[in-house]
Symmetry: none
Subunit: 190 residues, 4 copies
DNA sequence: AATGAATGAGTCTTCATTCAT
DNA sequence: AATGAATGAAGACTCATTCAT
C-alpha cells in the first residue's frame, strides 16, 4: 500500500465519519461518501469489503483513540485521585475536541450494525481503568462496589459532561470539576 | 376514530418499535412493519404521514411513559432521599421491564431523524425532577451544582444501571442500591 | 337523484376539472378531488364508475358546451360572413371566458384516456358548421376546398386566437378581427 | 461519455418517446421504459435525474428538430412565397414522417410537466420564421398583422394539416396545397 | 345516498455492489 | 490501484378502488 492509497483510504474513512454523523447511516450512501472523499465508488471497494466494514472500522478506531488517551494517563502510577482526574479530563478533552467522532460513537454504539467482534475488540481499551479501580478497592481507598458498575458509572458521567458541553457550549473548569467531584465522591471512601 | 382503528394504529406503533429495536431503522422497511402489524402498507399511511413521523411519535411516547413514572413518584412531597430513590427506582424499573422501549430510545436519541420539536416536547417530562433538585439545593441539603448537570448526572447513572442489567442479566438489589448511593453521595451534602 | 346529490355530482365534476387542469391527470388523485369537492372518496364512486369515466364525461360535456354555442349562432340563417364571424366569436368568447375548460380540453384531447366513443360523440357538435360551409361551397361563395380541411383550419384559427389571448392577456377587437379576416380570406372567394 | 453509453442514453430517450406517445405519461412507468430500452432501471437514473427530466429533454429535442427544418428552409433568401411554402412543407413533412414525435408534442405541450425553462428554450427555434414574416410585412407584401398572431396562425394551419393526414391517411398534394394557399391568402396582400 | 378506513399492486427512485476497462 | 457505468433488488410512498357501516 503506497502513500497515495493510504491517503485515499484515510480520506474515505474521514468523510464517511463526517457524513454519517451529519446525515445518519440511512442517509449516507456510498456514492456520496465517494464524492466527498474525491474518489470513485469502485475505489472504496478496493479498500473495504462493504459499507458495514467501513462503519465497524471507524467505530473501533475511535474507541482505540480513547483507549490511547486512557493508556497515556494511566502509565505513570501516581496518586489515585490525580490519576482519576487526569484520565477523566483526557477522555473529556478528546470528545470535546473531536465532536464528530463523539457523535459517531453515540449514533452507532447501540446499532445492530456494530458486530459482536467489534464490541469485544473495544473492551480491552478500557482495561487500564478497571485495573486502576481494582487497585483502589483493594487498597481500601474506594468503596466496595461492583467493578464493572464503578467503571460504567464514572465513564458515563464523563459522557454526561461531554453531552452538556456539546449541547450548551463551552463548560467552565469549575463545572467540569463539579462533575468529576460528583464521581469522586461516589467512589472514594471518606 | 373507532375502537378497531385504534387497535390497528397501536398495533403499527407496537410492531414498529419492536422491529426497529431489533433490526435498526435502516433494516426496518414499512412493508415489514405492515406484515408484523397485520395490516396493509397503505393502512400505515392512513394513520401516519411518513416513516419519520412514526419514529418520532414512538420516541416521544416512550419519553412520556418515563415522564409519567417521574410524575407518579414526585407528587407526594416526602423525604428528599426517599423521593430520589423512588424516582430513580421507578425509572430503572420502567426501562428494565420495557427493554424494547429502552433500546429504541438508545438507538434513536442521537439520530438526525428525531426532530427538534420532538426533543423540545420531551424536555417537559423531566421538569418535576429538576424542581425537586432545585428544592434540595435551596434547602441546603444538596451540593451547589449546576442544575442541568445534576439532573443529567443522576439520570445517566440510572441509565448505566439499566445498561448493566440488560447486558448482564438481573441485578441484585444491593448492586442497584450501590449505584443509587453513588449518585446520592454525589449530590447530597454530608 | 335528488337535489343534494345533484349538487355533489356537479361539485365533483367541477373540482375534478379544475384540479386536472392545474396539476395534470397524473397528479390529480381521487382523494384530492374528494377533498376539494367536499365529499368522501366513496361518494365519488356512487356517482361515477371510475376516474376515466369522470374524465371522459367532463371532456364530452365541455365539447357539448361549445356545440351549444355553435348551435345558437347557426340557427338563424343569415349572411354567410356574419354567421362565420358570430360562430367564431362565440367559440372564442366561450373559451376565453372559461379558460379552465379550455385548458382541460387541451390537455386531454390527445390523451389515450379519451375513448373512441367520446370522440365520436363529440363530432356531432360540429355538424352545424360543416353544414354551413357545405352551403357556402355549393353556393359558389367559398373556395372549393375539402370540407373537413376547411372546418379544421377555421376552427384551429380560433384556437390560435384563444391561445394568444390566454397567454398574452386581453386581445383588442382589432386583433381578433384580424384573425377572423385571415380565416375569411382563406375560405371566401374573392 | 463513450459510444456505448451514448447508445443506451439514446435508446432510453427513443423508447420513452414511443411508450409515452402510445400509453400516455400516466401509463408509462420507468420500469417499462427500462425494459423497452433494454437497460436496467438504475441505468436510466444514471443518465437522467428524473422522469420529468427525460420528458422535458424529449420535448425540447423534438422542438429543436422542427427548428432545424425551419433553419434549413430559411437560410437561402428567396422569393417570399417560395420560402413560405418550403418552410411549411418542411414542417409538414417532418411531422408526417415522424408521427410519434408529433404525437408526443401534442400530448405534452399543454402539460404542467413541461417547465417554463423548456418552453422558453423552444421559442428560439421559431425565430427565423418570425424574421421572415417581419421582412414580408416591412416590404409591404404581407398584411399588417400582429407578428405573433401571424406566426401562430400559419403554424397551426400546418398542424391542422398534419392532424388531418395522421387521422385520415395520406393527403394528396392538392389538399396540402389547398391548406397552404388558405394560409397564404390569409397573410399575403392581394 | 354517503362515508372513510382499508387494501395492495404499482410508482418513482435509491443505492450497495460488481466488473470491464 | 482506480474508475464509473451498469445493475436490479428493495425502499418509501401513492392511489384507484372496495366495502362495512
Amino acid at each position: 500500500m503506497n502513500v497515495q492509497s493510504m491517503t485515499k483510504r484515510d480520506q474515505i474513512l474521514k468523510e464517511a465519519t463526517k457524513l454519517i454523523t451529519e446525515e445518519g447511516i440511512c442517509d449516507s450512501p456510498m456514492s456520496q461518501i465517494a464524492i466527498k472523499a474525491g474518489v470513485a465508488v469502485g475505489t472504496i471497494y478496493h479498500h473495504f469489503k462493504s459499507k458495514d466494514e467501513i462503519i465497524n472500522e471507524i467505530y473501533v478506531s475511535i474507541r482505540k483513540n480513547v483507549g490511547d488517551v486512557i493508556l497515556e494517563n494511566t502509565k505513570n502510577k501516581v496518586d489515585l485521585k490525580k490519576e482519576f482526574k487526569s484520565v477523566s479530563l483526557g477522555i473529556y478533552d478528546y470528545y470535546v475536541n473531536n465532536p464528530i467522532e463523539y457523535s459517531f460513537l453515540n449514533q452507532l454504539e447501540h446499532s445492530p450494525i456494530i458486530t459482536k467482534k467489534s464490541h469485544v475488540e473495544c473492551e480491552k481499551y478500557f482495561a487500564p481503568i478497571f485495573q486502576s479501580y481494582q487497585n483502589g478497592i483493594e487498597a481500601g481507598l474506594f468503596v466496595d462496589m461492583d467493578l464493572m458498575l464503578m467503571g460504567m458509572l464514572t465513564y458515563n458521567n464523563i459522557i454526561t459532561l461531554v453531552e452538556l458541553s456539546i449541547k450548551g457550549g463551552h463548560l467552565s473548569p469549575q463545572i467540569v470539576d463539579q462533575a468529576l467531584e460528583f464521581s469522586w465522591r461516589g467512589i472514594a471512601k471518606r
